[in-house]
């Protein structure tokens, strides 16, 4: 409803107002070094380095930084790892994985530039249980497509003594969506823990379409079991559908979307939250712009750990 109010105001403005392109003299800024690194026990270490672009630049080109020395060290002293450059600013380890419950530090040294540091941890593992139900919503023979509704019930239990943060997305099956843009979904997760107004995708007429992600913490449920539901619908190719029927309510691997629950660090949570807010509020007049938080000293971006739990529907 709040969006509707704003929509109404903006629409009124658009009806009577007009637009002018302005030349605003922005100060010259030295483009910062950008760190993008999410680390999880399921993947090897990976850090992407690039340069931010001044808004005065004629063309926005985000060039990867290839001449840096990137080092990961663990706080317990068990790890000191220099990452190799794999091209276009991507630095990786070949074998080593982060470990749950461990704190790490990133160091980036680059000749002629100030060094960067960031530190974060991989959250501890939690108990996750889930059940799901698939319901055929519509069968469009012309397009050889079946629309299916998925209802997933999730129950999770985390450590009592620490604050825990979560992010939830629904990722499509690779066969169905090459861009891998998260699917729209509905969930009760945010309302259960009472935090962070969900940001729904809204149609041009103001209709609520669904969520692309849900970000929440256990602030009001510390130590308790958290239960919530996720609902989403997706299009299924007919061949996947028949396989699904034949296999008795089980979807083949290439056909199945999946809910993805991430147990994330505080830095990840702050970054994801402010990032999402900036995207959603950027089109709203009169709202204060949102500065995306960063835990990178000497640069911008994020160096954040998480543990992922894929809730497969197969």
């Amino acid at each position: 409803m709040f969006n509707r109010v704003r929509y109404l105001v903006v629409l009124s403005a658009a009806l009577v107002g007009c637009e002018t392109t302005l030349e605003i003299e922005l100060p010259s800024v030295n483009p910062a070094t950008v760190v993008n690194s999410y680390f999880t026990p399921d993947s090897v270490w990976s850090v992407h380095l690039s340069r931010a672009q001044s808004l005065r630049a004629e063309q926005a080109r985000f060039i990867g930084i290839s001449d840096a020395q990137v080092t990961i060290t663990s706080k317990d002293g068990n790890l000191e790892l220099i990452l190799d450059h794999f091209g276009e600013g991507v630095y990786r380890a070949t074998m080593t994985h982060p470990k749950p419950g461990t704190e790490y530090q990133l160091n980036v040294e680059r000749f002629g530039h100030p060094s960067l540091q960031a530190h974060d941890y991989v959250p501890t593992e939690i108990e996750v249980e889930y059940t799901y139900k698939l319901v055929e919503a519509a069968h469009l023979a012309v397009f050889e497509t079946v629309y299916v509704e998925a209802h997933v019930t999730v129950s999770l239990k985390d450590k009592e003594e620490e604050r825990n943060y979560y992010k939830l997305v629904v990722v499509p099956a690779a066969a169905n969506n090459d861009l891998k843009r998260p699917l729209l979904f509905e969930t009760t997760a945010g309302s259960i823990v009472g935090e962070n107004a969900p940001h729904y995708d809204i149609s041009p007429s103001g209709e609520r379409l669904g969520l692309r992600d849900a970000i929440f913490s256990d602030r009001t449920k510390n130590g308790e079991r958290i239960e919530f539901s996720i609902s989403f619908s997706f299009a299924l190719r007919e061949d996947c559908y028949w396989a699904y029927i034949d296999a008795n309510t089980t979807l083949a691997g290439g056909c199945s979307p999946a809910a993805y629950l991430m147990h994330i660090s505080k830095a990840f949570y702050d970054y994801a939250l402010t990032y999402r807010l900036q995207r959603h509020l950027s089109a709203e007049p009169n709202s204060e712009p949102i500065a995306v938080t960063s835990n990178v000293n000497g640069g911008v971006g994020v160096f954040a750990g998480f543990v992922g739990y894929k809730l497969d529907l197969k």
């Binding site: 409803m1 109404l8 637009e19 100060p27 990722v171 402010t274 900036q278």
Partner: protein, 773 residues
């Protein structure tokens, strides 16, 4: 008399200077009190703020809101002058040996034949403080100024005064000397109004035809006013014509309004009823079929008064304003949504002249603001979704104000107030089977607050040139079984230098127990009023002013200037991106606390007269906020920080019945935050897109929008008609079609970043027809 001495004792305890001034008074032994009422000879309405002067002894006072005055003079031959802007001065030589009562009727200038020379009063100068602290625009002047689509709005006229900011383009908001909108206490006939806007701030709730006075107190706020950090907007409805039945109606492009008034009980009372309604919804409905969108607002004002005895008078007034927006779509699915918000204020006041020197006013008021919204979606395919949201605030207030004219050199006021407030910040109900079979909802928290306040103030004269108003207010507020209390000392002083120059100064400690949680810079009906809690402390502030003014330059021109410095603590802002609609979360978890300051200087040159009147106002100001959670904890310019602000207002009578009005305003562009860099966020399946761009912001509000300026022009053509007058007003808002900025956004054109400015109102012509009878 006993009550008066109790008041003196109370004031004397807290105001040592009061005792000093009293001891210096050489004329206490043989004196007499002249009291009475000042009213308009044409309508019989009481005049608020009329000057009563005894020039030989340099004594003076002014009439209060009910037209009452009391002036103690030496028991001898005296000259009494009574004046009010727009009226001929009343002068009389009296020989007083004992207390006397007067009933003075001032004749409007327009009623007096041209051949008669009349003494025209200078601009209303407040009896205390400086002209820039207590500001007043006559309703007749407000009605003659150009208006958006011809809909006259008193608040829009107040925005033209120094130290008053509108907020955003076309908004009726008042941001006084760097304060936010909730720091202005708005009173209608003594009852508090919590939402003063229609149509998202385009218009205020005040129907100018029903109003008698609009006063704005920006500094040197006397102790009788409390519960506000920055200013008081004191609006009073007219009492109605007590001599004959009369009325008027106005036909405009957006709305029409009507007023009917007249005497009751053979001149011992009067009534006034007024109504206003927009008709956009009615006009657009024939053009809509499957989709129906409608918006309307309406106001109803009513007031009645009755003289119960020579010493008692009772008033009843009522206001109700409603806004409604609806949208309905009937296709393969059905969708309905509604927004409704309303204000309701009822006041009953009892005036009693207890003695010739003691006047009392008892006010009981009820104020109610409700906001409701709903959505209903039904589809055979997707099921149904229904949503309800309600927020509300209710207030019941009892107030007693007493004025005691102890001597020519002491005018004492004291009183108290008690109020209960009920806050329901938001109750949400959702019925949802979209994507599941679950129904859920959250109830709104209901909070009850009880507030009491006591005050005493003494306006006294030291020597012949020093006039001081010193007072103290004690206020307490209880909510959630916790008591919050504060003492607010207030002092304002005026020193007359030479014949007409005045040096003024004031200090006021201010406190506010409730605050508004606004959603951005627009005046949305979803903005919530909330009380202090354990986590959100009482807001406090200090206002210092010092000024210099000259009462009368030449040709009715006055000059006044003032500097001010203001501090504010425990200001509230939403956390980044937080919104009012957040199921399950407490509002206390959604806000950040900070502080602010504001300082600057204001200059006003004002001209009064029968054929030419108006003013030039200029403000130079700085307003900053400091929030630990924003801008790295460093101070940043407030959204409504404007370095320069200019307003030129002129009414010129070109010929009999032909008047030209012009307004030109200029202000420095609004402070905004703009990105300085952009960078990529990488991560497939974690981000909403594969490689999205993030905007990096530097300091908060470090840039400025383009400067704002516009000119409004209007011509009023009046002709006498049988039993009244008709006036046709033609004009244009933003006459030279300036594209003023409403907001900016970043866009890309040919791979290059550009900022685009959206403007709201181009040139908007208007025509209205007004008929009085």
């Amino acid at each position: 008399m006993r009550i008066g001495w109790i008041a003196i004792t109370l004031v004397g305890l807290v105001l040592p200077l009061g005792g000093y001034a009293s001891a210096q008074n050489p004329i206490e032994s043989e004196e007499a009190t002249i009291n009475g009422f000042v009213r308009d000879a044409e309508s019989g309405e009481f005049l608020f703020g009329a000057h009563i002067l005894e020039p030989n002894n340099k004594l003076g006072t002014s009439s209060n809101q009910y037209g009452f005055f009391s002036l103690t003079v030496p028991a001898d031959s005296v000259t009494v002058q009574i004046s009010y802007v727009g009226y001929a001065m009343w002068v009389s030589d009296l020989y007083v040996t004992d207390d006397i009562s007067l009933s003075v009727e001032l004749v409007p200038i327009w009623k007096i034949a041209d051949s008669i020379t009349v003494v025209v009063d200078r601009i209303q100068e407040p009896s205390e403080g400086s002209p820039l602290n207590v500001m007043h625009i006559p309703i007749t002047q407000i009605q003659s100024l150009p208006a958006i689509l011809g809909e006259v709005d008193p608040l829009r006229s107040m925005q033209l005064l120094p130290g008053v900011q509108a907020g955003s383009e076309a908004s009726s908001g008042l941001h006084i000397r760097g304060g936010s909108a909730d720091q202005t206490l708005t009173l209608l006939d003594g009852g508090r109004i919590y939402s003063i806007y229609h149509l998202f701030g385009f218009y205020s709730v005040f129907n100018s035809d029903a109003l008698g006075h609009v006063n704005l107190l920006k500094g040197g706020i006397p102790a009788r006013f409390g519960g506000t950090l920055s200013s008081v907007l004191d609006v009073g409805m007219r009492e109605g014509n007590s001599t004959r039945h009369a009325g008027s109606f106005v036909l405009g492009a957006v709305a029409s309004r009507i007023v009917q008034e007249g005497p009751i009980r053979k001149g011992l009372g009067s009534y006034l009823v007024a109504g206003r309604r927009t008709y956009i919804d009615v006009l657009v409905r024939p053009f809509m079929e499957k989709e129906v969108v409608g918006y309307r607002f309406s106001d109803a004002n009513a007031k009645i008064n009755s003289q119960l005895s020579k010493r008692d008078k009772i008033y009843g007034s009522f206001y109700q304003g409603r806004d409604g927006y609806s949208y309905q779509n009937e296709r393969e699915w059905s969708y309905k949504s509604m927004l409704k918000w309303s204000n309701r204020i009822a006041t009953v006041r009892w005036n009693r002249l207890m003695t010739n020197k003691l006047f009392s006013n008892i006010t009981a008021s009820y104020s109610h603001y409700t906001y409701r919204s709903s959505e209903d979606y039904r589809s055979d395919l997707n099921g149904q979704y229904a949503y309800r949201y309600t927020s509300r605030i209710r207030e019941l207030r009892l107030k007693a104000d007493l004025e005691y004219s102890h001597s020519p050199r002491h005018h004492i006021r004291f009183g108290g107030t008690a109020a209960t407030q009920e806050f329901t910040p938001g109750a949400i109900g959702i019925n949802n089977d979209y994507g599941g079979d679950h129904n859920w909802g959250t109830g709104g928290t209901r909070l009850k607050g009880v507030g009491v306040a006591l005050y005493a103030e003494d306006m006294f004269i030291v020597g012949g040139r020093f006039r001081i108003n010193m007072g103290i207010r004690w206020a307490a507020f209880s909510v959630n079984s916790k008591l919050y209390q504060v003492a607010e000392p207030r002092v304002s002083a005026r020193y007359s230098v030479l014949s007409r120059w005045r040096v003024t100064g004031s200090y006021g400690r201010m406190a506010q127990f409730i605050y508004l949680l606004p959603n951005g810079g627009l005046a949305l009906p979803t903005d919530l009023w909330l009380p202090v809690t354990d986590q959100i402390p009482m807001q406090t502030g200090n206002i210092f002013t010092v000024g210099l003014s000259r009462a009368y330059l030449s040709n009715g021109i006055e000059f006044s200037s003032e500097g001010y410095y203001k501090t504010m603590t425990h200001l509230v802002e939403y956390k980044n991106g937080a919104q009012f609609l957040n199921q399950g979360a407490s509002w206390e978890d959604k806000v950040e606390l900070g502080s602010g300051n504001s300082y600057g200087a204001e200059v006003l040159i004002r001209k009064s007269g029968t054929s030419t009147n108006g003013w030039i106002g200029y403000t130079l100001s700085w307003t900053n906020r400091t929030f630990p959670a924003f801008n790295g904890g460093k101070p940043f310019p407030y959204r409504y920080d404007r370095r320069h602000d200019v307003a030129v207002v002129m009414n010129q009578e070109l010929a009999e019945g032909l008047e030209l009005s012009a307004v030109w305003t200029f202000s420095t562009g609004a402070a905004i935050s703009l990105p300085t860099m952009v960078y990529q966020a990488w991560s497939v399946a974690i981000s909403p897109c594969a490689a999205c761009n993030i905007e990096h912001f530097g300091q908060r509000n470090q840039y400025r929008m383009r400067n704002y300026h516009r000119m409004d022009l209007g011509i009023n053509v009046s002709r006498p008609q049988r039993g009244g007058e008709r006036t046709i007003s033609i004009g244009a808002y933003n006459a030279y079609n300036r594209k003023n900025p409403f907001y900016l956004y970043r866009d890309e054109e040919q791979g290059r970043n550009v900022f685009k400015q959206v403007s709201l109102l181009p040139i908007v012509p208007y025509i209205t027809y007004r008929r009085t009878y």
